[in-house]
Amino acid sequence: MNNPAITKIDFKALKYIADGGAILGSGGGGDPYVGRLMAQQAWGSNNTVAVIDIDELPDDALILPIAMMGAPTVMLEKFSSGEEIPKLISMMERFLGKKVAAILCIEAGGLNSTIPFIAAAQMQLPIVDGDAMGRAFPELQMVTFTLGGIQATPMAMMDEKGNGATFDTISNSWAEKLARALTIEMGGAAMVSLYPVTAAQCRNYLIRGSLTKAHRIGQIMAEHGANACAALVEEFDGTHLFQGRVRDVNRVSEGGFARGTVKLEGLGDFINREITLSFQNEFLIAREGDNVLATTPDLITLLDIFSGDAVTTELVKYGLPVNVLGLPCDPIWQSPQALEIVGPRYFKLDYDYKPI
């Protein structure tokens, strides 16, 4: 992966990032399409957003991550008002007594791969090439910053009606718990700013180059279409885990998360085989009987056989033929300490993590 870092995002580049973000979403995080259109509306025609390397910023520069929290499905119906982000940022600046220097994407997978571009455009700020997940995860504390002892709070939340709140919690798990409860009251989705960091604080824990990676994935998808899966395996050291047709989707909604299983019946080279995928917003594990093909934190992504587009856990449906792509997670997630917060056992799956 020796692609030159991107430095400027225009509409076309944003589309690549959105398509790549859908792959990095690992089935979750929502469809980045809506976020991309919102960013386009926010920055108007003929504009671009600057992308910078973290090392271009002085140690004391304040970086604010901006994200959407809640159910991405809600964002398909109830769009934000467009006022949330400037209000959030001024709340955070007041709270911290400092001006923000750059925007950060906290989650390079799913809808949140494009949301920070709305902020960067509205505030005319650069965006840092990196993120704190390298994919999508369902809970707020599941970020590399937690491993570095960086606090999620002070955190601010704002709904489309103009209601705002700030949080000051004793742990990142508490921030998750309280923020999620308020998200539900706000109608299922809200804009948040959390994990305010200085450049010095986050240098060691940032997953660098995530935007460049998402952009490159989108580019490969545009070039290879239906054959994108093979090309992505090649370029990102991934694994073609399976090819099959969806034979059953069983969903339940528990505690605000969409959980369930998907059964796939093999096609092509995988004929006469069957695998089961389990998900909690994102795909967590791919199993063939008791044999584990891949587990979180590695990425498990479905691609539509015909279009090569990513298929989210919300859109997966009976009869759909898909390729199952496994991509290695960032190495930072492989330590025992990291696996405690994002490994299979955290999701109550009785399996050990085995890197793909």
């Binding site: 398909l76 119906e77 934000s80 909604s253 015909f306 919300e314 009976y318």
Partner: protein, 515 residues
Amino acid sequence: MIRVGIDVGGTNTDAVVMKNDEFLGGEKSPSTPDVYTGVELAVRGALARASINANQVDAVMLGTTHFVNALVERKRLANCGLIRMCLPSGSSLFPFADWPNELVEAINGTFHLVNGGYEMDGTEIAPLNEEQLLKAADELFEKGCRQIAISSVFATVRNDMEHEAKKLLQKKRPKIDVSLSCDIGRMGLLERENAAIINASLKPLAKEVVEAFQKLQGSVGFDCPLFFTRNDGTLIDANEVLRLPVLTFACGPTNSMRGAAYLSGIKDALVVDIGGTTTDVGEVINGFPRLAGTSVTVADVRTNFSMPDVLSIGLGGGSRIRPEQPLAIGPESVGHELLQRAYIFGGDVLTASDLAVSIGRAKMGTHAAPEIENADELKQLLDQIISDAVARTRTSDKQMPVIAVGGGSVLLGAQVDGLEVIRPPHHDLANAVGAAIAQISGEVSKVVSLSEELDRETAIAQITQEANEMAISRGADITSLSMLSLSDVPLSYLPGNNLAISVTVVGDLKMEQRK
């Protein structure tokens, strides 16, 4: 039971007469600019060949490309405005986002956002503001909109605000025609309102088309109901088309695939439909087309209907050939002028049909096939183009037949991409046959709250029963009902375990009730 199926395409209009499962006769006639003349010729021809009198016919089923062509050509579309009930939410993403500019201009597309809409649990985001709504409508009216589409946030959960808004609008301005998003699309505000806007833009044309066919009914002497075929291969009453034309606009490929499966007796196959200008390739599974997985783009606008997954390429019997290097076949076509302009019909344009005759794949025309210099290379190119399209449509290396239909199917050889090609009898009338065999559907979408008393299976069974009842009330035969599609998606962030279930069932049209 005697049914007449009619397919109005860009190039030809086809009509067939079927008696139960038996094909009695059919006729192909060039489409005419006024539509009416071409249809009448085809219908009269088909009836004559079948030796059936118009008054013996029990039902007429019609599929037409009028609507999709109007959209693609950006012609004959009404000026439209959209009112979205969403404020204070919604301003971050305006309606018409991601539309091609020419299409927005063709319908003079304009919009207003007003208070209203629902949260996902059905509580109001804001109450409907009558004064604000009517003011928005006034402004749209002054800009020349007589067609107004209305959308509201989570209309899929609750649709009463859209209905209330329609009532208020029509009371104030009876001349305004209203399309509601809740009648048309599924979850996804942008895609649903896109569909509602398209519907609104097609309404005046729908009136013209329906009236033309009703007039035809009289002049030919039919004494039976007239149905249109919908995107999913089922039927809609002609009067409903006036209200919801968008539900019929992608019926062409569906009818052709259903017709191909029916005529060949093969339920699982790839279907290649070659017309005068384009070739559609799709897959049928159990006699129905495989549907597109996620959203569908129609005339460059993203919508979320259930539509067949079809690959369309610019190759047909009328495709122009460039015989010198670099060789090319299509996408330019002589279209419906094939019978005048191709060499084999005495014209002076080298077309794909000339090539087919020249290489011995077809016998047709009034004149001898021309000498073609690079005939072998062109033959390879032709096979390559079709093989590529078929290969892209296949889901596996499993052997399955390719059913070739449509007037241009003579272009195909004996094999495509290593698969056997089958040309069923009457293959050039597959679309009209697909229309004639269309069934009645019932579809119900509901949010249910699962509990210990109500599990997922029971809830699905209850909703299936409601869908069955809807199909029966529309005229379906109870003994023929079967499930066409089922989806259940949970709504997270609601207390309890809530599931949005949607079921579509289909059945044959029941005829005993008539006469």
